[in-house]
């Protein structure tokens, strides 16, 4: 069976001219020597011949035009399809652009809301709270000499304000005059001279006629304190005392500590106010019975008495003078008048 198939294929290839010269020769020899193969070859040739002589049918004359028309229809349909696809693509693109724009808008709105929430002064609820707290102190930032401080102010403000506060007035010097009356002027003068020396002050007493002694002191606050503390030891021996503060206020019966309290006030107004207060107080004390007892009690509680005497060397004095230079100065004039 297999062999017959091979022979049939060989014979068909032979009649179709598909064999090489050698195979062709072999087939010819085979056919020449084998009648059966020769008969089979002839049958195959007849089949081939009968098919090949079938009449050639030309295509219909109009087929060329039909093909052209079909191509044109296809082209038109393709163009229409293309137009449709283009329109659909444009719509799709428009939809995508619209969606993108909407997304961008929503994003901007969301970001704006977030930013508004952060930076806005507050919504209605917050405003109500602000109104409720209107009368409460609001922190205000105060700048003083390039330094920012927070201070409480009573005025309501919508938002923190930055204001520049005027610099605080410089501490004002004290200028005063103490008038003391004493019977033994010489003893008092000696004591005061000693106090001057102990506190490093230069005696500037100027003897005036009628036995009056005038002393002029220009020192620091601390020196005044020390000086007055030392002077307090003889203060009770003075028959009367009077202090004139800047030739404005007068304090009768002033004590050594009252002088210091007045002198230590930073401003002139403070000095005068304090002086007036002491004047009123002293006036009341003069009129109250048993004033001497009160004075004695008051003297015992005096802090000035406890102040140790400063023992300063010449260098320390110079140093103190340098340190105190530019600080508050005390200009005090002491007048001792003999009480006859």
């Amino acid at each position: 069976m297999k062999e017959n198939q091979n022979i049939d294929e060989l014979l068909n290839s032979f009649i179709d001219g598909e064999l090489g010269p050698r195979e062709q020769t072999e087939v010819q020899r085979l056919v020449a020597h084998d009648a059966e193969v020769a008969g089979k070859l002839r049958e195959l040739q007849k089949c081939r011949l009968m098919v090949s002589v079938l009449p050639f049918d030309d295509a219909p004359a109009e087929i060329t035009q039909d093909i052209k028309a079909a191509l044109e229809r296809k082209t038109l349909l393709g163009a229409r399809h293309s137009d449709f696809e283009q329109r659909r693509g444009e719509l799709h693109l428009f939809a995508r652009k619209f969606a993108a724009a909407a997304a961008m808008f929503l994003l901007v709105v969301a970001l704006g809301a977030v930013v508004y929430t952060i930076v806005s002064p507050g919504d209605a609820k917050h405003k109500k709270v602000a109104v409720d707290k209107w009368s409460q102190p609001v922190k205000k930032v105060v700048v003083q000499k390039s330094e920012i401080k927070e201070v409480a102010v009573s005025k309501p403000v919508a938002s923190p304000q930055v204001v520049v506060e005027k610099p605080v007035a410089k501490v004002e010097d004290f200028t005063g005059k103490v008038e003391l009356r004493v019977r033994d002027v010489a003893a008092a003068d000696a004591f005061i001279h000693r106090a001057f020396e102990d506190n490093g002050l230069t005696s500037q007493s100027s003897p005036v006629g009628t036995g009056r002694k005038v002393y002029s002191i220009d020192c620091s606050e601390q020196t005044l304190k020390s000086f007055l503390g030392q002077l307090k030891g003889i203060w009770s021996r003075f028959d009367s005392t009077r202090l004139l503060v800047n030739e404005t206020a007068v304090v009768d019966g002033v004590t050594a500590e009252q002088i210091y309290n007045i002198a230590e006030q930073a401003s002139l107004t403070g000095q005068i106010t304090t002086a007036k207060n002491f004047a009123a107080l002293n006036n009341m004390n003069q009129r109250l019975p048993g004033k001497e007892v009160m004075t004695a009690m008051s003297d015992k509680q005096d802090d000035l008495a406890n102040i140790p005497k400063p023992v300063l060397t010449a260098k320390e004095k110079a140093k103190e003078a340098a340190v105190t230079e530019g600080a508050k100065r005390i200009h005090l004039t002491i007048v001792i008048t003999p009480n006859k």
Binding site: Q5, D8, E9, N12, S13, D16, G17, E18, R42, E43, L44, Q45, K46, C47, R48, L49, M50, V51, S52, V53, L54, P55, F56, D57, D58, A59, P60, I63, T64, D66, I67, K68, A70, L71, K74
Partner: protein, 212 residues
């Protein structure tokens, strides 16, 4: 480039000569040259129509299939890479379309065989009997002249499988060699040989059956 023409030992005009101008025509057609496209159609429309008609045995369907073939050729010509000749490429499209058509009309072959056994065409059957009985080969002109015999042969052809009929027609009608047939049908060369062998053996059997 393929230069072989349709084998015609019977003195018929050589209407199916493959020209080397195919490459030029295809290139011009690609550039949108309608004249080149028309020339390609005119050059191959009859040959393709003839094969399609022999395969499907229906003139209207053959015309429609031919039209579809050329539309597809023109539409697909940009995709033609030249790995094969335009000739085999065009026939491949035509045969594939026709084979698909035949598959959709698979009962057609059985009907044609019934027609061949009917009483019409006694003259053709008689001549067929003479041809088969004669030890010598018949005169091709005489066979072609006998219209009844041709109809019988066509009916016998239609009894073959579609693939067998295709190889026989491409070989004996279109005159392709085995390599070209293998290219058109996208099959191996050995498959072409075996198919042709079986197809011709089958034709002989059917003819003998008809004459009994």
């Amino acid at each position: 480039m393929d230069e072989r023409g349709l084998i015609n030992k019977d003195g018929r005009p050589e209407t199916a000569k493959v020209s080397i101008d195919d490459t030029v025509l295809v290139e011009q057609c690609r550039r949108g040259d309608s004249l080149a496209m028309e020339r390609l159609i005119l050059k191959y429309q009859n040959r393709i129509y003839n094969i399609i008609l022999k395969m499907c045995a229906n003139a209207d369907d053959a015309a429609e299939l031919t039209q579809d073939t050329f539309v597809k050729i023109i539409e697909s010509i940009d995709g033609f890479r030249g790995k094969s000749s335009f000739y085999t490429w065009a026939f491949r499209i035509a045969v594939n379309l026709t084979l698909n058509y035949c598959k959709r009309n698979s009962k057609f072959a059985a009907h044609s065989l019934d027609g061949a056994n009917e009483g019409n065409g006694e003259q053709g059957r008689a001549q067929l009997r003479e041809i088969l009985a004669d030890a010598n080969l018949p005169d091709p002109g005489a066979v072609a002249a006998n219209r009844e015999l041709c109809e019988i042969i066509m009916r016998v052809l239609m009894t073959l499988d579609d693939e067998q009929r295709a190889v026989v027609l491409l070989r004996d009608i279109e005159g392709m060699n085995y390599a070209q047939i293998a290219e058109v049908l996208n099959i191996e060369l050995g498959t072409v040989k075996s198919r042709i062998s079986r197809a011709r053996g089958r034709l002989k059997e059917i003819m003998e059956t008809i004459l009994q």
